[in-house]
Every structure is written in structure tokens, then in C-alpha cells.
């Protein structure tokens, strides 16, 4: 799954640590999601979407083959 987390975070001027604090996860988790090493669960995806004020599908998209 691809995501626009890094770009959206940059738009808001948030560091990984600040985003992690807002999501109540570790910075490691934010990093793993940004780099595509981990796909978040639906509840976490909803929390991420809420932080950026966007729909989940505007942040996450399926891998295009």
C-alpha cells in the first residue's frame, strides 16, 4: 500500500515525533508507515486521516501494478 504521509506531514510542518505524539504511537511507527514497511490497521488509519483532516483514501492507496 502506498501513502502520502510524508508529503502531508511536510505540508503541516510536523516532525515524525510530533505526528507520533498526536497519534499516540512511537516515532518508529510513523517512520515504518511512511516508508511502507508497515500498513496501519483501520483504527490507526482513521486517526491518521483525522490528524490531516482528510479521507483515508486520500492518504492511502493500493499498490498500482
Amino acid at each position: 500500500m502506498n501513502n502520502r504521509l510524508k508529503a502531508l506531514r511536510a505540508e503541516l510542518g510536523l516532525s515524525q515525533q510530533e505526528l507520533a505524539a498526536r497519534l499516540e504511537v512511537s516515532r518508529q511507527s510513523v517512520n515504518a508507515i511512511e516508508t511502507g514497511r508497515y500498513d496501519p490497521s483501520l483504527p490507526l488509519a482513521f486517526r491518521i486521516a483525522k490528524v490531516f483532516g482528510k479521507a483515508i483514501e486520500e492518504i492511502f492507496e493500493e499498490d498500482s501494478k
Partner: protein
């Protein structure tokens, strides 16, 4: 640099594991002493043989509790991955050893090897995870 990712639940878990291991050191010394000096009766021999297993079982139970307490799903996933690798290494070793014992009359695994193999598998996976996280830690 490594990401600093230890949650409150993980810190509590690590603290409790250290306590269990400290208890294990004390108990194993006591058991060895009692078996040597008072190990003639079968009941006491069994008793002092089983007692050192309790802190180790405590670590396993605490591991399960940690997985329930950990709110950070990525951290939980990392620990579950490490547990799976440890379990796979242990079961793989046991299966190979069983066939060697059955068909080649090879010796069984030495005492305490099981838990050590499990821990080794977990440790190797945790090192791999740390290396992976280190590579991509820069923002």
C-alpha cells in the same frame, strides 16, 4: 540513528523481565545448593528442580501480558514477529533433532536448550528489526 520507540508498556515489560531474571539467578543458586545438600528425598528433588522454572514461566506470561498492554500496534507487531521467529527456530530444531534421534540414534537436545533456542531466535530477529529501523530512521 536508532529510533527511540520504547513505550510505557515496553519499559514496564523490560523492567519486569529484569526482575524475573534476577529472581531466576537467586532461585537457581538456591536450588543448586538445596539439591546438593538436601536432595536425597524424591519430593524435595522434584520440588527444587521445578522451582527455577517459575521465573522463566513468569517471563513467558509477562510477554503475553505485554502484547495485551501495548497500545502501539507497530511495536506489538515487531514483538510478535520476534516471537514467531523464536518459535519457528525452536520447532525447526526440535523437528530436525527428532528425526536424527529416530533414524540415526543421535542424542537429544541438551537440557535448557529449548528456551535458549527460542531466545536466540527472538534476539536475532530483534537485531534485524533494529537494523531495518536504523536504515530508514532519518526524516
Amino acid at each position: 540513528m536508532f529510533c527511540s520507540g520504547a513505550s510505557a508498556a515496553k519499559k514496564r515489560y523490560e523492567r519486569d523481565v529484569l526482575r524475573f531474571m534476577a529472581a531466576y539467578v537467586v532461585v537457581i543458586l538456591c536450588s543448586a545448593w538445596f539439591v546438593k545438600h538436601d536432595g536425597h528425598e524424591r519430593f524435595y528433588l522434584y520440588f527444587w528442580s521445578v522451582i527455577p522454572a517459575i521465573p522463566i514461566l513468569g517471563v513467558l506470561v509477562r510477554m503475553g501480558q505485554y502484547l495485551q498492554e501495548e497500545k502501539d500496534e507497530y511495536q506489538r507487531w515487531l514483538v510478535m514477529q520476534a516471537i514467531l521467529v523464536g518459535t519457528a527456530l525452536l520447532l525447526g530444531t526440535v523437528v530436525v533433532n527428532d528425526f536424527l534421534r529416530a533414524f540415526a540414534n543421535a542424542a537429544g537436545l541438551p537440557p535448557f536448550a529449548g528456551f535458549m533456542i527460542f531466545c536466540m531466535g527472538m534476539a536475532v530477529m530483534q537485531v534485524v528489526q533494529r537494523l531495518r529501523n536504523r536504515v530508514s530512521a532519518d526524516e
